[in-house]
């Protein structure tokens, strides 16, 4: 008689099969089309398409602004998450709902709204321009749009973790003689850090590919304020499908390695506090 070890949960094979099938259909097949289209161009053409000065400038801009915007969001998103998780006050539900707005708003609508707000005759822009801070049609404008888009990613990943931290943990820290700053920096922060990194990478990944909201505030000057997704659209507009997918493939590879790096850092961070 053969003793077969069974999982306590039934339906493993069925659900795994379904998972693989569904992922292939929704993610892998579309992604593989990207590589197939790109492979229709030769290596030289590929290399030329992805390393021209204009393309490199677009990569720098897209990754740089996405990085800056996500950093800003990590700081201020954390504060919002903290407020939402820790305090009760009138109007909390409204603030909670507002955080999700960037998720729900069509990106083009967001872009038009931001451009009219921050351009030189906009509500906010007129004062910023007077102070010598041009807030639209440059990399600052792009970053502002990306901050808007990325915010809910941080708040929504950090908030549940903050809620889950037991008050006892803080009380224990206090009774062991930690002051409030020490309680925060040595007890709470290390628990939240891995989630902050996750939130950062989600926001970052989203910002890199953002087109709709950025395009209206970017200025779109070749080599200066031209984001990588616009370059892809430009290539498509010339019916250069292979050139467009080539740029996309490189963006995908860079994003993938960055996310892998972030995951690795996160792994180290969680190991330090003994959860993994």
């Amino acid at each position: 008689m053969i003793l077969k070890q069974r999982s306590t949960l039934p339906g493993f094979r069925l659900t795994l099969g379904y998972t693989v099938f569904y992922l292939s259909l929704v993610v892998l097949i579309p992604l593989s089309m990207l590589f197939i289209k790109t492979s229709s161009m030769g290596w030289d053409a590929f290399w030329q398409a992805v390393t021209s000065p204009r393309t490199l400038a677009a990569y720098r801009l897209s990754f740089g602004t996405a990085f800056a915007a996500s950093l800003v969001n990590v700081v201020f998103g954390f504060i919002i998450a903290w407020v939402l998780a820790r305090y009760n006050f009138a109007g909390k539900k409204i603030i909670d709902a507002l955080v999700d707005f960037p998720f729900a708003l069509p990106t083009a609508v967001a872009g038009i709204a931001l451009a009219s707000l921050y351009s030189s005759n906009g509500w906010v822009g007129q004062y910023l321009y007077k102070m010598g801070i041009p807030s639209a049609y440059n990399s600052l404008g792009i970053t502002l749009a990306l901050i808007f888009i990325g915010l809910p990613f941080i708040v929504r990943t950090v908030e549940p973790v903050l809620q889950d931290i037991d008050a006892e943990l803080e009380e224990a820290a206090a009774s062991l003689g930690a002051n409030r700053w020490q309680t925060f920096s040595r007890v709470i922060f290390p628990v939240v850090l891995p989630t902050l990194i996750t939130g950062f990478s989600l926001a970052f990944a989203r910002c890199i590919g953002e087109y709709g909201s950025v395009i209206f505030i970017a200025g779109n000057m070749p080599g200066k304020t031209e984001i990588a997704p616009l370059l892809i659209v430009t290539k498509l507009e010339q019916y250069d499908y292979a050139g467009a997918t080539a740029i996309a493939v490189v963006m995908l590879l860079i994003s993938f390695s960055l996310l892998a790096l972030v995951n690795f850092i996160q792994h180290l961070a969680s190991k330090r506090i003994g959860m993994s």
């Binding site: 070749p222 080599g223 616009l230 430009t234 010339q238 019916y239 250069d240």
Partner: protein
């Protein structure tokens, strides 16, 4: 939004098939894939045509519209959007459909009169009321401190007409000296603070954001801005010479034959050249071809000296020389 449009179009077509399947209902549905600024024009025209077709044959015809950037729309048709007719901003985009998908023959432009362009337009300047910077001609756009708004010719079909209009002026001015024309264009684009991705985007930047001293624009878009947003805010300046913009129309043969809608689609395009069709075009500030209608709307369209795109070697040639990678436009920005 486009996905929704495509979905509704497809749904409408399927519905059309179901309805035509019934013997009692002679209901035909067409899909006209067009570009952005023709929205209002075709809304009116479709109503007029449905009435005309009903009178002529007794059948009902429903025309669905799809609008978007001209190049985007062409790609949608190449990728399978089931258009019966395409009415786009430039011949190059319909050429691309013919070449990449074979849905219509390469000589499609010879099938209808006037290069298959029932109405025309041209490129003009929209300036702030009273023309404070005193802009009269293309040369004025190069002055230091002038801010010129025009979209990116790499992403916008309309912007390519703008670029070529300026190029045509420069190459005349310098008797065909190409290097001088290039310098002229480069100086012009140095005065462009924002390159929007589409023509409507540029109009918004100029009108709503208050950026720039002058907007280079299609004549019909300029009139739309003046009439909808106030005569007290903008005026139109006609340059000494501009390009004859011919937005072409074409029947997508293979789709039409599959749908069995040839007779009604042919009539749909032919009717654009009729007196009624021409009048609707003129009402929407497209220049009519028919002399009678031209005369009727004489005071609306100021006379302009126009040159034809064929002078620059046609669209294929112009595209390759100016807007392809490493073309003259890329050279302006020192990119390759």
């Amino acid at each position: 939004m486009k996905a929704v449009q495509i979905f509704t179009s497809i749904a409408a077509i399927i519905l059309g098939f179901i309805l035509t399947g019934h013997a009692f209902a002679h209901q035909v549905t067409l899909l006209n894939v067009s570009y952005d600024p023709t929205r209002e024009l075709y809304e009116d025209y479709n109503k007029a045509f449905a009435k005309h077709w009903k009178e002529k044959t007794g059948d009902d015809v429903t025309i669905n519209q799809s609008h978007g950037g001209s190049g985007k729309q062409a790609r949608a048709v190449i990728d399978g959007l089931d258009a019966d007719v395409v009415t786009l901003a430039l011949a190059y985009d319909i050429d691309a459909i013919a070449e990449k998908s074979g849905l219509l023959p390469k000589n499609w432009q010879e099938k209808l009169p006037n290069n298959s362009s029932p109405y025309t337009s041209t490129i003009v300047f929209l300036v702030r009321k009273g023309n404070p910077k005193n802009i009269k001609d293309w040369d004025d756009l190069l002055k230091p401190g002038m801010a010129v708004i025009t979209p990116n010719p790499k992403t916008s079909g309309g912007a390519r007409w703008n670029y070529l209009a300026a190029w045509g002026y420069a190459s005349r001015k310098f008797n065909g000296d190409e290097n001088k024309a290039k310098d002229f264009i480069a100086a012009l684009y140095r005065n462009v603070p924002v390159l929007d991705s589409g023509a409507r985007g540029s109009t918004t930047t100029f009108v709503e954001r208050g950026m720039g001293d002058v907007l280079i624009s299609w004549e019909n878009e300029a009139y739309l801005a003046v009439n909808e947003l106030g005569r007290d805010r903008f005026s139109i300046v006609i340059p000494s010479i501009s390009i004859l913009a011919e937005p072409p129309v074409a029947l997508v043969d293979k789709n039409v034959d599959r749908h069995g809608t040839r007779s009604v689609t042919e009539e749909y395009l032919k009717y654009l050249y009729s007196e009624q069709g021409q009048e609707i075009a003129a009402k929407h500030y497209y220049r009519p071809r028919l002399d009678a209608i031209k005369k009727k709307y004489e005071d609306r369209f100021q006379p302009v000296k126009l040159f034809n795109i064929s002078e620059l070697g046609g669209w294929q040639e112009a595209q390759k020389k100016h807007f392809a990678d490493k073309g003259t436009f890329d050279q302006i920005y020192g990119n390759n």
